[in-house]
């Protein structure tokens, strides 16, 4: 009898340990999913973000019909939400989440990744079709993902976007969200977090730094696409331009723009 009793107890103990380990693994996965969503949400226009958030919850929840979801959002947001608008937003949301999936999950597994985001864009086109006006957004998102690929969090990528796009003050809800992402991912003794936040605050508050960012953010094309990632890699992570080019892997024709951005940022570092 005694030995039979021991035989029952041992597997139970193992199962409990296993569930806790899986819970920790799931918690980490959920944190990463949340970060990806939050970075993607920031690429939508401010007016559309509450609707995108509603779609995000619906994708993860009971997935109501677009008509029901539009009605629910109208009640919450107190404004008109057309059901016909939702497939477009949901499509873009999933397309942008897909960009992060490609860079952060597929490329490390060995998927080909040609310069200039050629492989990424082909993958996006194959799966989601082509939408010319999204190219800059997708490449900008990809550049931030590349900048973050070896980091524990996308919070810094989000903070870089917020800084470059002029939504600066601590206490601003976007800043607080990004800060939360960073803190959730940080280890308690992480001095690097404090150093980076201090740097961020410096760039967000000093007139001379702000002037550089303002001038650079008024440029278009590749300048606009790569500016947040360049700031992240150059200012926050202290990388030199060669490493930044190696990390972002732009087209040859875009390298001068990146060199120009980095030179301007380095002059203020």
């Amino acid at each position: 009898m005694g030995s039979a009793g021991e035989g029952v107890v041992l597997p139970l103990e193992l199962r409990i340990e296993d569930t806790s380990a899986r819970a920790a693994e799931q918690a980490e996965r959920l944190r990463a999913v949340r970060e990806r969503y939050r970075l993607v949400e920031d690429t939508f226009r401010p007016a559309g973000r509450p609707v995108v958030r509603g779609l995000w919850s619906a994708l993860n929840d009971e997935r109501p019909s677009d008509v029901a979801l539009a009605r629910r959002l109208e009640q919450t947001l107190r404004r008109e939400v057309s059901p016909a608008y939702l497939p477009l937003l949901r499509h873009r949301l999933r397309q942008r989440l897909g960009v992060l999936f490609f860079v952060l999950d597929e490329v490390p597994k060995g998927r080909p990744d040609l310069d200039g985001d050629a492989s990424l864009l082909e993958w996006v086109e194959e799966r989601w079709g082509w939408e010319k006006e999204s190219k800059g957004t997708l490449r900008g998102l990809a550049s931030l993902a590349r900048a973050s690929a070896d980091e524990r969090t996308l919070g810094w990528a989000l903070l870089s976007r917020i800084l470059v796009n002029g939504r600066k003050p601590p206490g601003h809800s976007d800043y607080d969200v990004a800060l939360t992402l960073v803190r959730l991912s940080a280890r308690s003794d992480d001095a690097e977090v404090k150093r980076r936040l201090d740097l961020w605050s410096l760039w967000a508050s000093e007139d001379a730094h702000l002037a550089v960012l303002r001038r650079l953010s008024q440029l278009t094309g590749a300048y606009r696409t790569f500016l947040p990632a360049c700031w992240y890699l150059s200012c926050l992570r202290g990388m030199r331009v060669e490493r930044i080019l190696g990390r972002l892997r732009p087209l040859e024709s875009e390298q001068n723009e990146i060199k120009y951005i980095v030179a301007k940022l380095e002059a203020r570092r």
């Binding site: 806790s20 989440l97 999950d105 086109e125």
Partner: protein, 285 residues
């Protein structure tokens, strides 16, 4: 142990709130509870943000399945149909697309009536669909520089048009009969733009129907009726072959078919099937 639906719903709500940024932690006990009692829910989260995203169907395939009835899509995309049986996310997308398609149907009917009333057809010029006179085939004025997409949903300017539906659906898809009815062919032509190579290609898929009398067929795609194509492919009943070609110079494509009755040693017959690249004239069914 009993599965308490209320407890599961509460735990789910916590996870969703966390993903939406409303709370900053999901208690470990709740996660462990879901791992034990509702693991599928946890696996389904993320909307393509992480693992599993590569398995989900692309919008054009989803749109094909959203058409009613979805038989053609099920026939053309058999492995995708299997995926659909298991993926709640894709089924959800299709349901949403169906609602939009049915909402858009009256606009399509209006558009078709306008074409009829104005003796107009849609033709392909390069990769653009443009309006043209039904008889002379001359393109109608300014529309040459403002292409109208066919098989797509943005023929009228509307910023709210669904992008998923605005994607060029396979613009020409339908059945053709070769060899006097012995070789039914399902043909689908999809123009694509290859970003990395900065060029356009057409993917033409030809499938020999399962109910074909011929057991085997050789299929060759021709851009001119008397000009041999670069390759021939053998298909048996129910099999599909794909060709990638430059955008055609003419307003037709031709499929040359050689079929065997009773295997490779049996009787052999040949046929040439013409595919007009025009809508409203039987090419699109």
């Amino acid at each position: 142990m009993m599965n308490d639906p209320h407890k599961i719903a509460d735990a789910r709500r916590l996870v969703i709130s966390f993903l939406s940024g409303e709370i900053d932690e999901v208690p470990a006990a709740q996660l462990e509870f879901l791992i034990t009692h509702d693991p599928d829910f946890l696996d389904s989260l993320g909307g393509g943000a992480s693992r599993g995203a590569s398995a989900c169907l692309s919008p054009d395939i989803l749109t094909a399945f959203a058409e009613s009835p979805p038989d053609r899509a099920a026939d053309m995309f058999q492995s995708e149909a299997t995926h659909l049986e298991e993926c709640a996310m894709c089924r959800f997308e299709i349901d949403a697309l169906r609602r939009v398609i049915s909402a858009e149907a009256p606009a399509w009917e209006r558009f078709a009536r306008e074409l009829d009333q104005n003796d107009a057809v849609l033709i392909l010029v390069g990769s653009n669909w443009v309006l043209a006179d039904r008889v002379t085939r001359e393109t109608a004025g300014d529309l040459t520089s403002a292409p109208v997409q066919v098989g797509a949903w943005n023929f009228e300017v509307s910023p709210r048009r669904s992008f998923a539906l605005a994607l060029p659906k396979p613009p020409l898809a339908g059945s053709r009969v070769a060899l006097g009815g012995s070789a039914p062919l399902f043909v689908e032509i999809t123009p694509t733009h290859i970003v990395s190579r900065k060029k356009e290609e057409w993917v033409v898929s030809v499938k020999l129907g399962r109910d074909a009398s011929v057991e085997l067929a050789l299929i060759e795609l021709r851009s001119l009726p008397n000009e041999r194509g670069p390759r021939r492919e053998q298909v048996s009943r129910g099999e599909e072959v794909r060709f990638t070609v430059e955008p055609p110079r003419e307003r037709f494509l031709w499929i040359w078919v050689e079929g065997w009755f009773g295997g490779r040693d049996g009787r052999k017959e040949q046929d040439l099937v013409e595919i007009p690249l025009l809508t409203g004239e039987g090419a699109s069914e």
